[in-house]
């Protein structure tokens, strides 16, 4: 595949995703003209691109689809569920076709032929006029960038002397959009006095187009001196889509010799008010979809972004050494400079980080689709509601998050939401709901997936745990502890394993995946009310706010968000402590002396620092020599040799060029508590 083709595949993948998204929205609002137009447009781009870059299969295949949606667009065909289903399968198939060799695969080829046959069938049925839809005039006025202009073009009589044909100009103008033209012939003399080399006609044109007034003016650029031209913008929308309006215009202005501009404006204003009353509600709903198309963006290779991030990380580190140097040497002249650089660096860092953030919206389409398909498969009626789709996350996080979320949603559809009949019996709404909400919370992003299904049966979980020997039969567990059992590897409560949820992987894999991206999972479930899974993630993987501490000259960083409090405690207290518990603020706190745990040689200090960190819902103390202060750590991997070393999540380079190790306090406490 050459470079251009690769580029096309990249672009086409985006187009196909957009298409899927548009189709999903269309399913909810089948009459929406803008959406249909969008669908058509995307198909058209796919067809064009496919043909240009040698993806003939895509080009041919999309051509047929495009024909269907052209008919839909022109109101000759109605959107039906059947049609959407075919289109959805076609979208999936298009993804396959992105591989130029796809049709050599027998299964794909068969699928290709079946789909082509289905599409052909639709096209055939189309010639049946019965499926014509009623035109809904209210839909026509919405959206798009079309504006309506009024042009008065009065050529001088001599305009044809240098070979200009004003009709060509009018024709060109009409090519820009929809138009309504009134030729004004009142100046044309009697035939006896008529000079065929002169132009007597002037034109008044209503034009609805996406072009700007300047672009319209350009049409007349060569006749500027030979004519009078007036362009007035009448409205920010297309006036000419509505039959009533056109009739009105015709009635008002056709018979006149000349249109009075004031009269015209008044007329438009009236129309505008009418239209606004009608449109406000519809327009708001549409915003979410059209907004995306307006945002201008560029495509950047993700490697380049990674590279940029690395450079910025290095800059942050270098800048820290500069600050340190200035502070040590007390160079006054450099002080100001260093501060400036620090400022710029911080801004650059923030910008660079924001570049690598993508909204979680990018993965939501997939979930919409998943739920749609699964609901059909399981014959369940489910609505998927999302909130905070614009919440942004580091792209690597989004990548790591898709699979676990997919799994959670599958679980909700399969085990959570009950069939319609059962729901009605329980007095619930017949339609089940899966609710995904994302929001920022401090330096974290929280993603909540909630369903209103039957919830998790604690008794079943407990029974199973006893069966599998995870707990003893007489164990006294709180509800939360029972729920946490689900995260034990190999634990799956599904009675009958289905294709959807039981693939031998369960919530333990979800937890592991989320752990990998330094997030946490929390599960809440109420019988017959539903299940809520809360995932908490760091905003970015590469920078953390940390607390810099020291043990025997080696520096460590603890994630600041987990640090609770710092206490100065005499070493003796720890030595005398019974059962690794120390009493602080009247509270018993379990502690681990990192000096011992890390087998550090050397004498402990008389006065040590106890840093309490949050662990699950407890406070646990970690004893260090000194606390140096807050530090923004650029996280660097320790490298391949430390691949199984998970109590250290990485290293960071300090201002003086030495390395501090970033501690994963959760893992440390987990490991030490297991050991003891």
């Amino acid at each position: 595949m050459d470079n251009f083709q690769k580029k096309f595949v990249e672009e086409a993948t985006d187009l196909i995703n957009n298409l899927e998204e548009a189709l999903l929205t269309l399913e909810k609002k089948p009459g929406d003209k803008d959406l249909i137009a969008a669908v058509f447009r995307i198909m058209h781009s796919l067809k064009g691109g496919g043909g240009m870059f040698g993806f003939d299969a895509i080009s041919n295949f999309t051509h047929n689809l495009e024909t269907i949606y052209d008919e839909v667009r022109n109101d000759r065909l109605k959107i039906t569920e059947d049609l959407l289903s075919i289109t959805f399968s076609a979208v999936d198939h298009l993804r396959n076709l992105l591989n130029p060799e796809a049709l050599n695969d027998k299964i794909i080829k068969k699928n290709h032929d079946t789909l082509l046959a289905k599409v052909a069938q639709v096209l055939k049925r189309m010639s049946n006029p019965e499926s014509k839809i009623q035109q809904d005039s209210s839909d026509n006025l919405v959206g798009s960038n079309e504006k309506t202009y009024f042009l008065q073009f009065t050529p001088n009589e001599s305009i044809m002397d240098n070979g200009t044909n004003p009709l060509f100009l009018i024709e060109e103008l009409c090519g820009f959009g929809t138009s309504l033209i009134f030729p004004r012939l009142h100046k044309v003399p009697l035939i006896s006095k008529l000079d065929t080399n002169k132009c007597y006609t002037s034109w008044e044109i209503f034009l609805a187009t996406e072009k700007s007034a300047g672009q319209l003016k350009e049409v007349f650029i060569f006749v500027e001196d030979d004519s009078q031209l007036e362009i007035i913008k009448l409205a920010d929308f297309n006036l000419l889509t509505d039959k009533d309006t056109i009739e009105e215009i015709e009635k008002q202005f056709e018979s006149k010799d000349n249109i009075d501009i004031n009269e015209l404006n008044e007329f438009v204003n009236e129309l505008d008010i009418k239209r606004k009353n009608l449109k406000v509600t519809v327009k708001e709903k549409l915003n979410s979809f059209t907004k995306e198309n307006i945002i201008s963006s560029i495509r950047v290779d993700s490697d380049k972004i990674d590279q940029l991030m690395n450079l910025v990380s290095e800059l942050v580190t270098t800048q820290a050494s500069l600050s340190l140097y200035v502070e040590e040497k007390q160079v006054y002249e450099l002080n100001q400079l260093s501060e400036n650089i620090e400022n710029i660096t911080r801004q650059l860092r923030d910008t660079a980080f924001s570049i690598s953030l993508i909204p979680i919206e990018t993965m939501l389409t997939r979930f919409h689709r998943l739920i749609r398909d699964l609901s059909v498969e399981f014959n369940k009626n489910i609505e998927f509601i999302t909130e905070g789709a614009e919440t942004e996350l580091d792209k690597t996080l989004v990548q790591g998050l898709t699979d676990p979320l997919m799994h959670i949603i599958r679980n909700s559809v399969d085990h959570g939401i009950e069939p319609e009949k059962e729901r009605i019996e329980k007095g619930k709404t017949p339609q089940g709901m899966i609710y995904l909400k994302a929001y920022y919370s401090g330096a974290h992003v929280v993603i909540k997936i909630q369903d209103d299904g039957k919830g998790i049966d604690l008794d079943v979980v407990k029974k199973k745990a006893i069966e599998k020997n995870y707990i003893t039969a007489d164990a006294q567990l709180t509800d939360k502890e029972i729920l946490d059992l689900i995260f034990i590897p190999g634990f799956s409560t599904a009675e009958n394993i289905t294709d959807v949820s039981g693939r031998g992987v369960g919530m333990d894999v979800v937890k592991k995946k989320i752990d990998e991206i330094r997030g946490t999972v929390d599960l809440e479930s109420k019988r017959n009310i539903g299940t809520t899974i809360t995932i908490k993630l760091p905003l970015t993987l590469s920078i953390i706010d940390g607390l810099l501490v020291e043990i025997n000259d080696t520096k460590y960083v603890m994630p600041l968000n987990l640090v609770d409090k710092i206490y100065a405690v005499q070493h003796e207290k720890f030595v005398k402590a019974y059962n690794n518990l120390v009493i602080i603020d009247g509270e018993q706190i379990p502690f681990y002396n990192l000096r011992n745990e890390f087998s550090v040689v050397g004498q402990p200090l008389e006065m040590e620092q106890l840093v309490t960190v949050k662990y699950e819902d407890k406070r646990v103390g970690l004893v260090v020599d000194n606390v140096i202060g807050e530090y923004q750590a650029v996280l660097k991997p320790l490298g391949k040799l430390y691949i199984n070393h998970d109590i250290i999540s990485g290293a960071t380079i300090l201002g003086d060029g030495t390395i501090a190790l970033v501690l994963d306090t959760n893992k440390i406490i987990h490991e030490f508590s297991f050991k003891n």
Binding site: T317, K555, L638, G639, L641, N644, I647, A651, T658, I659
Partner: protein, 164 residues
């Protein structure tokens, strides 16, 4: 830029000293020779990994070959260096630092001058040694650094520690 293939085809080996013994690695494996700088120890790691250093903004793990060869630890001197080696671990090239007592010279060795390693009565596991070269009345052992740094050599013991 020097062509990778040319470097590969060179018959040059960098010799260095560990205790009383002389070793050599192919020059294509050596990226850099650093003087000894403070090394940050990583707790709970394998004995033969000394720790990490800052190599121009990235983190480089440093290992002590002595531990592997069960040589006695010696004090660091002004001759002690860190060789930055490019090592194949799994199917990926990874930069690794190695502490050596001193770096000697680059030896030009003809293919036919390399003697096969002895398989009987040797102190060192011959799997790491590809051959022996005689140089100035001294025997220099050529190390197969890729085998030496085989990932399992390190991780297995880390797991043992974690399992304790």
């Amino acid at each position: 830029m020097i062509d990778e293939e040319i470097v590969q085809s060179l018959n040059s080996y960098l010799s260095f000293q560990l205790g009383d013994e002389f070793f050599a690695v192919h020059v294509s494996k050596v990226l850099n020779i650093l003087e000894l700088i403070p090394i940050t120890k990583v707790p709970k790691s394998h004995d033969s990994i000394v720790g990490v250093i800052n190599l121009r903004g990235s983190v480089l793990a440093v290992v002590d070959i002595r531990v592997k060869f069960k040589l006695a630890h010696s004090e660091y001197t002004k001759d002690t260096c860190i060789l930055v080696l490019q090592v194949l671990i799994g199917d990926e090239y990874v930069d690794v630092g190695a502490i050596v007592d001193s770096v000697h010279s680059v030896l030009e060795v003809d293919e036919n001058q390399i003697l096969p390693p002895l398989s009987v009565g040797v102190k060192y596991k011959s799997e790491f040694i590809t051959g022996i070269v005689k140089n100035n009345e001294r025997f220099v052992m050529i190390l197969d650094i890729d085998k030496f740094y085989n990932l399992e050599n390190f991780t297995s013991q880390v797991e043992e520690i974690a399992a304790d």
